[in-house]
């Protein structure tokens, strides 16, 4: 877990720096979180935020408040309510909150807002975005290397540009490793339900495996558990997403594309506590260790030294700019 140790050192540094600044700042910190509609126990994105916040609470003793919205009007309501009650920083999870953050941040210029997965240009808003295409590229490369049939699959959740960005990065990685490889792509659906339909996810994975795929990557929230299960049941390999899902089906999950929302959350709160919180855009890619692939005891046997070195050199090339991973959302097109 190189990513984690690296970040831990980073945080340790930040923590030491905090000791030198006065404790007065820390005493008043009242962080709050407004989750997206998926809810805080979605086993992926929102839950990652919760984990980050819980780690923060554990390490610093500072409690946080959170709220799960049930409809669009509540985004603004919840943000405003937290701001009014003196909470800061207020973390808005998910791109759907952008409009609400923009509006409420204007009303409360002295409150710090952080939004994950979208960009809001306000002097008191920090925007955290991830380069999912880079992480997906690397797991695509690993998938192609692990595949014996030369066919791999992708199961997305809801058909939105963000998920096509995952898919596009993945396809680029697969083709980079094996230009002749075939990639089957399916989206689970077009509504929010597509994030929580593991049965359909499993069926899509099965149909891809029937056509010869032997590695299937999912970017589908709770639906993806069905994808990983189907791959494991068929003796094939799955690839997890967002958090480390290798342990769900040990030995049957090749790796997981990590999107470190937990670290982003932790860092935001920590920075706020240390007085180091800054507005502006933070793009977290491979270079910033915001995305990456998971390596642990569960998939040690699956990642051969050859695969590992290929992945590492691809990572290095992406960071150095030698490989340019196309971002689907830049032009709504995928070159592959």
């Amino acid at each position: 877990m190189t990513v984690r140790t690296g970040l831990q050192i980073l945080f340790l540094g930040a923590g030491l720096a905090a000791l030198s600044t006065g404790p007065s700042l820390a005493a008043d910190l009242k962080p709050a979180i407004v989750y997206d509609i998926g809810g805080k126990f979605d086993k992926s994105f929102n839950e990652g935020v919760l984990h980050g916040a819980e780690r923060f609470k554990q390490e610093t003793g500072t409690d946080f408040r959170d709220f799960e919205i049930t409809n669009d009007a509540q985004r603004e309501q919840a943000l405003r309510r937290f701001a009014k009650d003196g909470f800061s920083p207020i973390l808005a999870v998910g791109f759907s909150q952008a409009d609400a953050v923009e509006k409420v941040a204007g009303e409360f210029p002295n409150t710090k807002f952080t939004i994950i997965d979208s960009v809001v240009n306000k002097p008191n808003v920090q925007s955290v975005v991830f380069k999912e295409q880079e992480g997906s590229f690397v797991v695509g490369l690993l998938a192609a290397k692990a595949s014996k049939t030369g066919k791999v699959g992708f199961v997305g959740g809801m058909d939105i540009p963000l998920i096509r960005r995952f898919a596009c990065g993945y396809v680029q990685g697969v083709k980079y490793a094996d230009p002749k490889a075939e990639v089957f792509q399916n989206m689970t659906g077009t509504t929010g339900d597509a994030w929580k339909d593991p049965v359909k996810g499993g069926e899509l994975a099965k149909s891809q495996m029937d056509r010869g795929a032997d590695v299937v990557y999912h970017a589908a929230g709770a639906t993806g558990v069905g994808v990983l299960r189907a791959a494991a049941d068929a003796g094939k390999l799955g690839i997890g997403v967002d958090s480390d899902q290798n342990g769900l089906f040990p030995g049957k999950v090749l790796t997981s594309m990590l999107k470190r929302v937990d670290n982003a959350t932790f860092r935001t709160f920590k920075d706020a506590k240390d007085g180091a919180w800054k507005p502006g855009v933070e793009t977290l890619g491979l270079k910033e260790e915001g995305v990456g692939f998971a390596e642990d005891q569960f998939n040690k046997a699956l990642i051969t030294p050859d695969m590992k070195s290929a992945a590492s050199s691809a990572e290095a090339d992406i960071i150095a700019g030698k490989i340019e991973v196309h971002d689907y959302m830049a032009d709504s097109k995928c070159p592959m």
């Binding site: 809810g39 408040r65 959170d66 709220f67 799960e68 919205i69 049930t70 409809n71 669009d72 009007a73 509540q74 603004e76 309501q77 919840a78 405003r80 309510r81 791109f95 759907s96 952008a98 409009d99 009303e107 997965d117 979208s118 058909d159 939105i160 540009p161 963000l162 077009t190 509504t191 929010g192 959302m329 709504s332």
Partner: protein, 383 residues
């Protein structure tokens, strides 16, 4: 009324719903108690959150606006004996109509653009209900099945359009670009501000008044016009209606189209009033709540408005409750709302029999009179 459990009209309209709601709250209180929260504190936080401040009232009435529209849609169809499950999809499509007008009519002045947007919503919502109505009237395809199917069609179509066609190229969110300023409905805050009253910032807008006007219009239409009479006749007995010279198929199609247009009011409130852009799944289940609202409001506009306000209280109070009591998650709120729907909608017969028995004992002497005179009197004009 010669129903087996006859109760006075006032009891039917007031006592039964009140008893149902009170029972629902008692059961909900037990559930709240079971997870370790003081039910009294929860009730206070719910009532204060929804009615205790200008902001709370604003949100309550904003939710109520959606429920009035969908409740009226379902209630109107009820009057014609139709069970319109499709208010959700009709409202969703109404959003498309409103958005197309607002996105393309940017050069129009506000006083023209807003009414056109409302008409756009009504037309799209109406057409989305017209087709199932037509299928029911001409082919006998059951309206419950077709409207459910049309909900799915609306979801799929809208997702396609919002992801592929209407989405702003730079935006991640599947939604249309923002409407021009002139397309925004005046908010209640701005309107009250114009007459010197300052209130809190809430999503409540002029669509609430439109909803109340629709409720009044539905009442006039159903109970005071010739077509309304035909609708009620078809609802009671289509065969008799046919015999009386009313074409049920025409009434079915017409009622469904109007029902869909009413449901589209949700789009006026949400899209033109609050979000100012078309969003994925902006209907958020309000169409389905409309069914419960119509059931609880006994398919009468006054009942629908009252039930809508109750559901507004549940929604807004529920959000405040989740805020004040971290132990109560949003799923708990759904449980409480579900209990109200269960008791007020599905189990309202629960109190009818005991009440009927009570009233039978109470007013036995009055009811001993013969229901009908032995000989028919001279024909009188019907009331």
């Amino acid at each position: 009324m010669s129903a087996p459990f006859a109760i006075p009209r006032w009891a039917d309209l007031v006592l039964v719903p009140v008893l149902s709601v009170v029972t629902a709250f008692i059961v909900a209180a037990l559930v709240v108690l079971a997870i370790g929260v003081d039910p009294w504190a929860a009730t206070v936080s719910m009532v204060q959150g929804s009615l205790g401040s200008a902001e709370g009232i604003g949100f309550t009435l904003y939710y109520a606006t959606d429920f009035i529209f969908t409740g009226l849609a379902v209630a109107l169809a009820f009057q014609a004996g139709l069970f319109n499950i499709g208010a959700e999809g009709q409202a969703y499509m109404g959003g498309l109509g409103a958005a197309l007008v607002c996105l393309h009519g940017t050069a129009l002045p506000s006083w023209l653009l807003i009414p056109l947007g409302i008409v756009g919503a009504a037309v799209f919502g109406g057409v989305w209900a017209y087709v199932p109505g037509l299928l029911q009237a001409k082919r006998g395809s059951h309206i419950v099945i077709t409207t459910i199917m049309f909900n799915w069609l609306a979801t799929t179509l809208m997702a396609y359009l919002l992801v592929n066609t209407l989405r702003e190229p730079t935006s991640m969110q599947p939604g249309s670009s923002r409407f021009v300023e002139g397309a925004a409905l005046p908010t209640m805050r701005a309107m009250l501000g114009a007459v010197g009253i300052s209130t809190a910032e809430t999503p409540l807008n002029v669509a609430f008044l439109l909803a109340l006007a629709c409720a009044a219009l539905v009442w006039v239409f159903v109970w005071r016009t010739r077509t309304g009479y035909e609708i009620r006749t078809v609802g009671r007995n289509p065969v008799a209606a046919l015999y009386g010279g009313i074409a049920p198929s025409r009434i079915i199609v017409l009622t469904m189209a109007l029902s869909g247009a009413l449901a589209a009011g949700v789009a006026v409130n949400e899209i033109m009033g609050v979000q100012h852009r078309l969003l994925l799944e902006f209907t958020a289940g309000y169409g389905f709540v409309g069914i419960a609202v119509a059931l609880m409001g006994r398919a009468h506009p006054v009942g629908v408005v009252l039930a809508s306000i109750l559901f507004g209280i549940l929604y807004q109070g529920g959000a405040e409750l989740a805020f004040d009591q971290p132990k109560i998650t949003r799923d708990m709120i759904v449980v409480i709302q579900g209990l109200v729907v269960l008791f007020a909608g599905a189990l309202e017969g629960l109190f009818r029999r005991p009440l009927a028995l009570a009233f039978a004992g109470f007013g036995a002497s009055r009811r001993d009179r013969p229901a009908k005179p032995a000989t028919l009197p001279a024909p009188e004009p019907s009331e």
